[in-house]
Point group: C2
Amino acid sequence: MSPRRIDPTLATALLEAAARLLAEEGAAGLTTRRLAAAVGTSTTAVYTHFGGMDNLVRAMVHEGFARLHRRMSTVRATSDAVADVMALGYAYRANSLDHPQLYQVMFGGAALGGFALAEGDRQHGKYTLQPLVDAVARAAEQGRFRAGDPLLVAQNMWIALHGLVSLELGGYLIDPYDADVCFEAQLRSLMVGAGDEYEATATSLARARRRRSPRG
Amino acid sequence: MSPRRIDPTLATALLEAAARLLAEEGAAGLTTRRLAAAVGTSTTAVYTHFGGMDNLVRAMVHEGFARLHRRMSTVRATSDAVADVMALGYAYRANSLDHPQLYQVMFGGAALGGFALAEGDRQHGKYTLQPLVDAVARAAEQGRFRAGDPLLVAQNMWIALHGLVSLELGGYLIDPYDADVCFEAQLRSLMVGAGDEYEATATSLARARRRRSPRG
DNA sequence: CGTGGTTACGTAACATTGTTACTCCATCGA
DNA sequence: TCGATGGAGTAACAATGTTACGTAACCACG
């Protein structure tokens, strides 16, 4: 169109259009030309604002981690720390299911048109994990979990959660045990593995269920 | 070269070259032209033998599942079924680390040049899981695990294992708790979550460790 | 008000990708 | 020996990320 229409919000417009393209058409639909067409500009805008498709995806990943952290932070601490841990699990999975394509890019790692995350990009997980670490520490203080480093315990829970979400999004969890069944069974199993009594996990699970946020 | 050199093993040669390309250069290095150059043929060979790059990757995934199943089948049943379960975990992780790129394609799912697995391709996991299901059932018979459907318990273990391997291959597990530490902590946690006593898992873990195969 | 510098953007091209139409010719059966 | 089959090479097509180049608008001066 008319040249030199300086738009300071073009970078954010590109990001929003990229997020929409990724969500609606998947990783294959996220191309420079379609992105440029979506915001009514040219492909070079991607390079002036981000220096390439890699950095644009990187920015989306950063935003994805920030949103995940925001969602995890909405889980309040209660007198039942195990229920808090489970509520964090629900929040994690709900956020992933709300943005499945983004989640796959965030953790799919290797392949998005040969795109690869940099070393620092992956350490966002550590920062995002903090609410879970706190809840695990409180569960140990309340005598529900075995004594041990909360960071290691929380990391193990995150690993298992990621495994579930990853396989769910990939469509690998099939009948008779679909993702919902596996998820709640895994939550109880994780709590028991951390030291809680099997029977106690039932009431905490019921509490966590009631705290699910409808959408986020 | 000289035309019409009919080579009935060309399909397998393509598969082998594709596996080598994938292993050595990653998903980005696996292109039709490089593949054709590697076996000294033309790009059309991929289409006459596989009907496209998708089906060739599909064939590689099938081979990957078969190899995983073969490796899991080498774990023999002993009088310590919990150690058997852990040994299966070691085998699963070892196979994944031996073929990291293939593993990412098998479970990365969405993105390999817009390639997506078909519905039936993912159900290979169910077949591959059988040795683990058997070991879990025997652990329950021995009174080490809680009563429950072994398929559900095994699936949960597989989910957690996949989470660990997936994050390890992606480089998300960082200091101070690297993948080795997380893996063994997770093994014990899984056994306790399934019903075993925490102290008993230590000796079973030691037994499983001794049974690690050097290379596969 | 005018002028130069900076910078954002569009145009067009390049290399590379998966894919396919067309052709050729070696092999197999009669 | 001759025709049919079908596997493979050549070359093209559309689409991808990326970049060189030109242009024009803004901003800071005088």
